[in-house]
Symmetry: C2
Subunit: 594 residues, 2 copies
């Protein structure tokens, strides 16, 4: 661990202690600031540039401040669920960032709650700000609109407690700054959504700005140095006794808990073969010479499965063992051969080490491990476009074909369903980001998420933002295309039109009507949603392999100079390889008892 | 009270006791039935014909049974929030009916929760069925998709507890029938939403069908006869000492708790002047000769305000004293002159009588009161189309003008915002139903609600279903128009295009950008959402009074032979009278402290 690495957690601890002292001292700063602007100042310090949400009468005062703020911009969404999804997508793509969504009391916040729950499940740091009635109205339990009619002003907070890691209920100006700081710190350090209420009467109340001089930190508390040193030696010993027959398996928590750089240093220095779980896709470059592809239990490519499961030691970093992420719980890597690195604990074979987090541990381990000669060969992760003697756009053909279209730095968003399972099987380019929601799996999420991702990508100087989504999923959240047009974003959107909920058909009801949907005129949609004269977007339909290839090869299309929507006509009942296997296994588990 | 009236609560009590005995006996019926089909059989008994919702992998098994059911039809919605709104609209228009929405575990149910909370707030009986993982998966806390990733399988139930009156968590087949019956009974008798989980492995489990022979009842438990008789005499005495200077004020609970017929009998027999609160609009015919219009505190027409507030006695039936329903709490009818009739209690001046419900009390009171000579004159409730010397479609002109377009039996749905406040001020025809959401006030609700209302209206042989909604609100839930096209419904939809959230502009941010929205091409929308060849719908734009009048006078338009969308171009910053006053008062209450 370098000096600067060990200083950083200590500095964060110093700042936390200083803030705690500030809270106790409650000193008056020299330049008072409105509570609303204090919150915005903190968001600006965290480099938040976009706030998602919908106006409502209890957040309009705060919105005045947002609209007047020099660096935090307001993105008015079409509805609150889409706004929450957008904040989630923004946080995923923005490096070291959080997403922010603003809603109004009751109606707005409850509409957003599924998006917030998704951020919880998938460990995405999102701040949910709710504009609530004045503290006087809350105390008197006034029978206001947006209430349940029975005076239970705590009902929505109680609902939020189930899907957020921390709640900040501002009740007076004295405690406002500390409450804001607490939930923001929880949001960042625990990589989960938090909930903050802002009563109308406190938005413009002036408070001390003193605390703003001390930055908030996302850095974890320091590991106990003795325990950490012990753990490092344990792992080094295991690596040696494995005679370098070691593989690294990278998963999503490495990304969410800011350990991506540390993981990559370990990977490159050791030269161990490295694989990713589906949720960890693109955490390590898929073009890296020692990267072997995706490990997903029994669904894995047999070569990958063999390599991972037969290694003498597996260094598993940030793993989430959910059904879709493990090939329906078919991981075959016993604890006796595995070291698990997590954000706030480490497990060496069967031994647990609480409060030993990977972010600080991995650099110490990397420093102790020497580069190793490559004992295990790593067949590269490739996708070959199959030769098929027809013009139907099949899943088997589509995903390898579009993988040729991707460029370095593209942001690729996959909706839950055929898109997600299809893209898992093909490699993505250098510095690209793969955005998916495999654990929460809320259909429709990818539309809002693409909006947020496109904002963050534009800001970070990433490449194109490309969405793959099925026709069924798209109907849930389609209006947010309008926000993309409105804000001049230029995503490329592939709508896989296969006549309904294909992922459901794979699971059950293959020929059932309940999996049908209304067929929309996809190419007429953007015109209706605001691109009246067709200058902001372009839409087309492709029905054959030839048409699809011609489009992908077209420089004008690839340049992404405006928003583009491509309806890809596919066959009902066709599905990607991984989804077919997954759903067969899932069906057995989901016993319907008949 | 007639013999049949007093028998009905007793019969209901007998049935409840029989079911309780059944639960204890757990007898085996002669024809076993699947748990899923037991639920459907109960819904069929309650005359539920439509089930709203979205398929998801944990509800597909049950959907097989729904699709195969002879009388309960599946309405696949575009998303879950819209589905919940639709179930709410269906329940509001269907006489003595409940609405049903089916979602999947986690992602689906949380997306619907704002719609469920709205049903709670507005006292609408909605059953929310959630398909959940198998009992084995729940017990083992499997890390399935749609979970929060930490094994908290109770998180969603805990969220639902805040917005439903009763929860049924089915955990084994033995208790399934009793649980289903309990939540359905709570739903009906308490006129609030309830929550029911259906695990995948129990859907097809066979149970006794014995209980199905005993119908469920919506009838309230009987009032205590001695207390009820005492209360009746008290009220009769007050009426007499008021020397017949008595007015009746009808509100929404009279409708929700099935006392509309009883109220109308009282109204007609006594001849007392009768008024309605906004939420109770159309509970009493607005063409009845002794009906004087809407009482809404200080926002009321001065004549109405004077008549109501100066009466010696006010019989207030089913009132909800929320901000928007009372002119921002400006009711001026002191308790010392008021008798309040509620679903489960009665208040005579200052005296509370718990467990004395209006449904059974009102007929007893009506029987004791003689017809009275009309001492108080009642100026009729009229709307006069103003003469304006311009062609702009103003709110002042629009609402009286459209009131001439309405016909008896029309179902008129008003979105929260300018539509709701505009329609309050004009009388609606005989047997029409006014559907609005004044207490909960969730923008976008009216679209889903119109879908449900149109189904119920078609079934009941009502007239046209007519929706008024602003452009801002419509963007939240627009995709549900597609479901209307899909199911051959033919609502008339007026889209008030005034460039954003006008109700918000009235409250705050009159010129703020956060109240702007993207301008859509409204007349191109239905074409994109599935009416490819234009045979199922017709869309047009009206910009002038002349165009609007010509349209309203056109027999082809009025006939409503297909779905019709009318974009009504209006001016930003114009608003109905009642909204202007309401928002001025609300602004003062919503102190922003600066």
């Amino acid at each position: 661990m370098s000096t600067s690495d060990s200083v950083s957690p200590l500095q964060a601890e110093v700042n936390r202690l200083r803030l705690e002292l500030q809270t106790l001292r409650a000193s008056d700063g020299s330049e008072p600031i409105e509570v609303g602007n204090y919150l915005l100042a903190r968001l600006a310090q965290l480099k938040v540039t976009q706030m998602f949400g919908v106006p409502g009468d209890f957040n309009l005062g705060f919105l005045d401040l947002v609209e007047d703020h020099p660096t935090v911009d307001w993105v008015g969404n079409c509805n609150e669920l889409n706004a929450a999804y957008a904040a989630d997508g923004y946080a995923r793509v923005k490096e070291h960032g959080i997403g922010v969504v603003l809603t109004t009391f009751g109606v707005g916040e409850l509409s957003a709650i599924n998006g917030i729950a998704g951020a919880f499940s998938e460990m995405v740091p999102v701040l949910h700000i709710v504009g609530v009635p004045s503290t006087a109205q809350q105390k008197s339990k006034a029978l206001l609109h947006h209430t349940l009619g029975d005076g239970r002003y705590d009902a929505y907070v109680k609902a939020a407690e189930n899907v957020t890691i921390s709640q900040g209920i501002i009740t007076d100006k004295e405690g406002a700054a500390a409450t804001i700081d607490r939930v923001l710190t929880d949001c960042m350090t625990r990589a989960r959504p938090v909930y903050l209420t802002l009563p109308t009467n406190l938005v413009f109340e002036k408070i001390s700005s003193e605390r703003l001089r001390i930055p908030l930190s996302r850095t974890q508390p320091p590991n106990d140095p003795d325990v950490a040193a012990f753990v490092v030696e344990e792992v080094v010993r295991l690596v040696q006794s494995a005679k370098e027959d070691v593989v690294i398996l990278v998963d999503v928590c490495a990304v969410r808990h800011d350990a991506q750089a540390e993981v990559n240093e370990l990977v490159v220095k050791t030269g161990f073969p490295v694989y990713a779980a589906p949720m960890g896709k693109t955490a390590v470059s898929e073009n890296y010479e020692r990267y072997g592809g995706i490990y997903v239990g029994s669904i894995s490519d047999p070569v990958v499965k063999n390599k991972v499961e037969n290694a003498r030691l597996i260094l598993s970093i940030g793993c989430v063992k959910s059904d879709f992420n493990t090939g329906n719980f078919t991981y075959s890597i016993p604890a006796a051969r595995t070291v698990e690195f997590h954000s706030d604990n480490t497990k060496v074979l069967h031994a647990m080490y609480p409060a030993i987090g990977m972010k600080q541990l991995l650099p110490q381990l990397t420093a102790r491990l020497a580069p190793t000669p490559s004992k295990i060969s790593v067949p590269p992760f490739r996708a070959i476009v199959p030769q098929e003697d027809n013009e139907i756009i099949t899943h088997a053909w589509l995903w390898p074909r579009v993988s040729q279209f991707f460029r370095p730095k593209d942001v690729i968003v996959a909706e839950t369903g055929t898109s997600n399972f299809g893209l898992i099987d093909v490699p993505l380019p250098e510095q690209s980001i793969f955005v998916s929601q495999l654990l929460w799996g809320s259909i429709g999420w990818a539309v809002g998420s693409t909006l947020g991702a496109a904002f963050a990508a534009r800001e970070r100087g990433m490449g194109r933002t490309i969405l793959f989504i099925g026709d069924g999923s798209l109907q849930l959240t389609v209006q947010e295309f309008s926000s993309m047009l409105r804000h001049g974003l230029k995503p490329i959107i592939f709508v896989l039109n296969n006549g309904g909920y294909e992922i459901e058909r794979c699971i059950r009801g293959r020929e059932r009507k309940y999996n049908d949907i209304m067929n929309w005129e996809w190419t007429r949609l953007l015109g209706a949603l605001g691109d009246a004269d067709g200058t902001r977007s372009k839409s087309c339909t492709v029905r054959t392999k030839g048409e699809m290839s011609a489009l992908l090869d077209s420089p004008a299309f690839a340049e992404a100079g405006k928003m583009q929507l491509v309806e890809v006509v596919m066959q009902m009942h066709d599905a990607p390889r991984a989804l077919k296997i997954q759903s067969e296994m899932g069906e057995k588990a989901n016993v319907y008892g008949y």
